[in-house]
């Protein structure tokens, strides 16, 4: 239930990328792949980041969480809700955290003693799904601040794919497109209506077996199997209508969106999707498709791209952005929001 004159807004966001970078050609050169495939040319991904020793999903998430809290200028105790949306919940030994929620451990690390904590799983769409829940909770007036957070330690699926004979297991090829990273958003209460708007959320369950992530059956660590082309077509076949419906639902004009962020499976795929959108709706003001050196960091991709835009000085307080989110399943939803006050001054 919405409390009268009580709305939500984005107070801060942050992302963290581990220092170590790995070049794509170092593990996916033309000699490594079937048909002398030029993987860099095919995907547009030149490199990705990988965790340091002692870092897992939790440690990555906490780094982004601390930065988001500092930028928001609030105390950790002000957070009434923390939702973790990590797809990977692995520690440095590749053990998978199961219970209770990883968000509980994040809250402990951040000193957020008053926050309710739980995890949301919706693949790469998990953070935007969690933002939708957090926004509802703030609008209900029950809490003042909520954090949505995720740490993705997913590069072990690269090792798993490399162990495979990719001639025999082409569905493991998409595993070579990932990178590690983390992101966090803080939403707060606002007196101004419409500073955050969500599209209708959709799950196209006819694609629910096109990307499966789980533990390897006979080896330590995770694996991912993807029908990449079919899944991509699932997005392309629906994205035009989705955007048309979303703009009507959110009462947002396409040409008035300052910054557009799509889930970057690969930079090349985003380019194709952007062409469908611009042919249908008109030119995109600023498409942030800068994932060539970060790769696909799963649920954290929008946060990573926002951080890069902020660091490059592209973002201003009086501007708006849209996050278009896709996740295995196939989940599609979007969030339009006003950029946080003071975003241009964050360090």
């Amino acid at each position: 239930m919405e409390r009268e004159n009580h709305y939500a807004e984005m107070v801060s966001f942050a992302a963290y990328l581990p220092e170590k970078t790995v070049e794509t050609k170092s593990f996916a050169g033309t000699k490594d792949l079937p048909g002398s495939l030029d993987f860099v040319r095919l995907t547009g991904i030149t490199s990705h980041h990988e965790v340091a020793k002692g870092q897992g999903s939790l440690e990555l998430a906490v780094q982004a969480g601390k930065k988001a809290i500092s930028r928001a200028g609030i105390e950790p105790n002000s957070l009434g809700l923390i939702i973790n949306a990590s797809v990977s919940k692995m520690n440095t030994s590749l053990d998978q955290h199961l219970s209770p929620s990883l968000a509980t451990l994040v809250a402990s690390e951040l000193g957020a003693k008053n926050a309710q904590t739980f995890d949301v799983s919706n693949a790469c769409a998990g953070m935007v799904t969690a933002l939708m829940i957090a926004e509802s909770r703030i609008k209900s007036g029950k809490i003042d601040y909520a954090m949505v957070i995720s740490g993705e330690f997913i590069t072990p699926i690269i090792d798993e794919a490399k162990r495979r004979n990719l001639y025999l297991h082409p569905r493991a090829l998409a595993s070579l497109t990932v990178g590690d990273g983390s992101a966090a958003y803080i939403l707060g209460s606002s007196k101004h209506k419409g500073r955050i708007k969500f599209s209708e959320p959709f799950t196209f369950a006819q694609y629910n077996r096109h990307c499966i992530g789980q533990a390897s059956k006979n080896h330590i660590g995770p694996q991912m199997r993807t029908k990449a082309r079919d899944l991509q077509n699932g997005v392309f076949n629906n994205i035009g209508t989705f955007l048309q419906r979303s703009l009507i639902h959110m009462d947002v004009k396409w040409d008035q969106i300052d910054h557009t962020y799509s889930h970057p499976t690969t930079p090349k795929a985003v380019k194709k999707g952007a062409k469908i959108a611009s042919d249908l709706l008109g030119e995109i003001n600023f498409l942030h498709n800068d994932s060539a050196d970060t790769a696909n960091t799963a649920s954290t991709t929008h946060g990573v791209l926002l951080e890069k835009s902020q660091n490059s000085g592209h973002l201003n307080s009086d501007e708006t952005a849209i996050l278009i989110s896709f996740g295995s399943g196939l989940a599609i939803l979007a969030m339009h929001f006003n950029l946080p006050a003071g975003v241009e001054n964050w360090s």
């Binding site: 199961l98 219970s99 509980t104 919706n122 693949a123 959709f202 799950t203 533990a215 989940a331």
Partner: protein, 234 residues
């Protein structure tokens, strides 16, 4: 809560049972399958520790619910999972209460349960599947609130999945030792055993719900010490 169904399940039967119970619950609620616009699954253990996609998408697919290309006026369904140990059912209920009002559809499916992840996992727990149809209509038992208490959370009492090289497979390990809190049932209060899985908590609670005619508090205490309390009105 318009209707609900639950049953004990065998390993690898969670999806099949959930779909079967969902169909029964929808029929009992006297609505059409197509009226469901939201599916939220609450649980901890999935086959092979599956991390994506959400288990709820498999339920939606198994029901063949709105599995069609998008048009400008086609109906929608959105599916995802939530998790917080044994407290997951209450988190799922709370999440449905949070977002269902803003969706076009006014009916949601709450699905709760756990599957034995691999044959190597010790699995002494009684595994139940629970499904309910939730609406904002006010008909049936009404959820008044869900409160949480993390005051007794012990970070040493976590559960993780790991690869055991001796058996060449994945197992579960429950870290730390504790004396489990027993079941407590008073006139307007019910708290299940601390060792129960999500589905059993909901199955037992709803088996006593039918006899209730005023209010009932349902407390779930997770192994880690975290707890949630759902207040129901009849």
């Amino acid at each position: 809560m318009l209707s609900w169904q639950s049953r004990k399940i065998k390993p690898k039967q969670l999806l099949k049972s959930t779909i079967k119970l969902a169909k029964q619950a929808i029929k009992m609620a006297n609505i059409q399958l197509e009226d469901i616009g939201l599916i939220v699954h609450g649980g901890v253990y999935k086959e092979h520790f599956r991390s994506e996609p959400a288990f709820a998408t498999h339920i939606q697919g198994g029901l063949s619910l709105h599995c069609t290309p998008l048009t400008m006026d086609s109906a929608q369904c959105f599916s995802f999972d939530v998790s917080d140990g044994s407290c997951s059912p209450h988190i799922a209920l709370q999440t449905i209460a949070d977002i269902l009002p803003s969706m076009n559809s006014k009916y949601a499916l709450l699905c709760v349960g756990d599957d034995r992840p691999t044959k190597h996992c010790e699995w002494n727990e009684e595994s139940y599947c629970f499904v309910a149809v939730i609406s904002m209509s006010g008909i049936g038992p009404r959820l008044i609130s869900v409160d949480f208490d993390d005051g007794k959370f012990n970070s040493n009492l976590t559960v993780k999945g790991f690869f055991d090289e001796e058996v060449n497979g994945n197992k579960i390990v429950e870290l730390g030792d504790l004396k489990f809190q027993e079941t407590k049932h008073e006139r307007n209060y019910f708290s299940g055993h601390q060792q129960w899985l999500c589905g059993l908590h909901m199955h037992k609670f709803h088996s006593i719900m039918n006899a209730q005619n005023d209010t009932l508090e349902h407390c779930i205490v997770d192994r880690s010490g975290k707890s949630t309390t759902a207040k129901w009105e009849f």
